[in-house]
Amino acid sequence: MPEVRELEWLRESKPSERMLGYPQAICEALDQALALDPRVFVMGQGVDDPGGMFGTTKGLHNTHGAARCFDTPLAEASMTGVAIGAALGGMRPVYMHNRSDFLFLTLDQLVNHASKWHYMFAGAVSVPIVVWACIGRGWGSGAQHSQALQGTMMQYPGLKVVMPSTAYDAKGLMLAAIADNNPVLILEHRHNFKYKGAVPEKVYTVPIGKGVVRRAGSDVTIAGISNMVNEALLAAKDLAAIGIDAEVVDLRSLRPLDETLVLESLRKTGRLVVTDSGWKTGGVAAEVAAIAAEKGLEFLKAPVRRVTCPDVPTPSGYTLEQAFYAAKDDIIEAVRTIVPPRR
């Protein structure tokens, strides 16, 4: 299966390829997992609503029955524990949250328990759970409904964290996460949901822990995650127009993080911009920059730049939101501070 290397919705799709909406790609992954593996079930507040969690679980309770796709009480902490216990009992739970902010209520179970049970008992047991949570960036969602928590969540050994950026990966990473014998957190960015992409109908997985080069280039590496990969690709397009050839690296997984891919790209380009939808301090961009400083200093021809959201809670007001979110233009600006003008 060839990797999709371009921004899918800008790309001319080949007639042979089926285009699928991003949420529908997730739904297809869940549908296939439910059909293939009787151990799988999907739970979460509203997964059996008419809308089906933005479409990602739509109709699954009808197809697979209420015992395998069901609503939960508003009890995020214990329901995470229920998923852990069910996993220890031989099931493969997928627990969905429509806002990642609610993850904070689950941290005791997710971090103290799910991420430790394998280690504390020296491998005697595994906890194959998938927790899926959506960064609810949208219409003035504000400080408690649109936080990007990947910086916080990538810190825990024992927990895997992935953030897809394409419909293809959203399906493949969901299937990989369900097949994985460890707790896997999938953080989605709601902005991705408006895109379509080429998604094969067959069952496939995308490897956890492997990034991918979305656009090859020679002047600068733009490493990003989730929706910021799309912004990076848009930026690369504009940069090409002014003679700057950017390589775009989609990290895809945050733990394990594909260091090799970042360093290989850096060796080639000598310059690095890291972009993330989370905060700057102690986050994804900080971590990737640290890797570059620690292991790639010899390649660096210029300082590393971080393009992230500023260290402030997410505002609700429209004008403030505009100022808050990093986007294509911020990436271009950052690139131009480290790449000498070409024309």
Partner: protein
């Protein structure tokens, strides 16, 4: 209740064995070969013994940092436990867990959490899986009075009731959470005692009377195993030793030494021994023999632990993720 002689003797054996293990740990702790916090079960043995006597190997249990008694009564391997207390590679958690994280899957002990209340929802989830798989296994979780103050206790019992899950919540109310008495932390009876019996089977029992625990637990399991839903069993007892570490903490001044005395006199093992002799279930000689056998078994376990290798520093990064 007509309890077979074999069961009576095995209840006594379980309690005595746990007590002797705890005493051995306690007497050797000062040597600093067990470099892990210990939380002794002395005085509470009747609860683990009385509850676990009903359990099959495929009935999962989840416990806390104070789990030596439950681990042993459920059939957990003694050598692996003592080795784990020495943080040895041959320990049940290969030295990664220590005293607070015991596991023995062959006995259905799925692990213990050092987070108060941490296993309540996990046991509930295990019961969910067992039910979904069509098994009649019953899952048990043991926890202290402190855990009932955590919100997750409410959430877990609520879910177990909602889905009629075969899980038995065993509260070991030993009055103390570290140095804080239960009366300073909550008021009145546990609210779940007032639950509709249709949704939750509840009982409160003298946790120092092994036959009472056995009998009540039996009802709770019959309820859960027959598909009627969860049960909540509160066992009233007392923590004889300090919260952690070895020896009496009567001199610390936070609780009255007289109370400790009173409860020490209500030793579940001593009273049951007297009963066994009075009822002529067993002779004193045979009970002594049992004690001697246990002592030998424990000596061997300590010898095994002492002779076992420590985990190697180079293996630090093992077991983070499963295959």
């Amino acid at each position: 209740m007509n309890i077979p002689r074999e069961t009576l003797l095995s209840l006594y054996h379980d309690m005595l064995r746990t007590r002797r293990v705890e005493e051995s740990i306690e007497s050797l702790y000062h040597e600093d070969q067990m470099k892990t916090p210990i939380h002794l079960y002395i005085g509470q043995e009747a609860i683990a013994a009385g509850v676990c006597a009903h359990l099959r190997d495929d009935d999962p249990i989840f416990t806390t940092y104070r789990s030596h008694g439950q681990y042993l009564s459920k059939g957990g391997d003694l050598n692996s436990m003592i080795a784990e207390l020495h943080c040895k590679e041959t320990g049940c958690s290969k030295g990664r867990g220590g005293s607070m994280h015991l596991i023995d899957l062959s006995a259905g002990h799925y692990g213990s959490s050092a987070i108060v209340g941490g296993c309540l929802p996990i046991a509930t989830g295990m019961a969910f899986a067992k039910k979904a798989q069509g098994s009649d296994a019953v899952t048990v979780t043991f926890f202290g009075d402190g855990a009932t103050e955590e919100g997750i206790f409410y959430e877990s019992v609520n879910y177990a009731m909602l889905k009629k899950l075969p899980v038995v919540f065993v509260l070991e109310n030993n009055e103390w959470a570290v140095c804080s008495h239960v009366s300073t932390r909550k008021i009145g009876e546990n609210l779940f005692h007032g639950a509709d019996p249709e949704h939750l089977y509840t009982a409160k029992v003298d946790g120092n009377a092994v036959l009472d625990v056995y009998e009540e637990a039996g009802r709770a399991f019959a309820h859960a195993r027959s598909g009627k839903g969860p049960a909540f069993l509160e066992c009233m007892t007392y923590r004889i030793r300090g919260h952690a570490g070895s020896g009496s903490d009567a001199d610390l001044g936070y609780r009255s030494p007289e109370d400790i005395e009173v409860w020490a006199k209500r030793c579940p093992i001593r009273s049951f021994r007297a009963w066994l002799l009075r009822e002529e279930v067993e002779t004193p000689i045979e009970l002594e023999r049992m004690d001697a056998q246990i002592e030998t078994e424990i000596e061997n376990a300590f010898a095994f632990a002492t002779a076992s290798p420590l985990p190697k520093g180079e293996d630090l990064l093992l077991h983070i993720y499963g295959e």
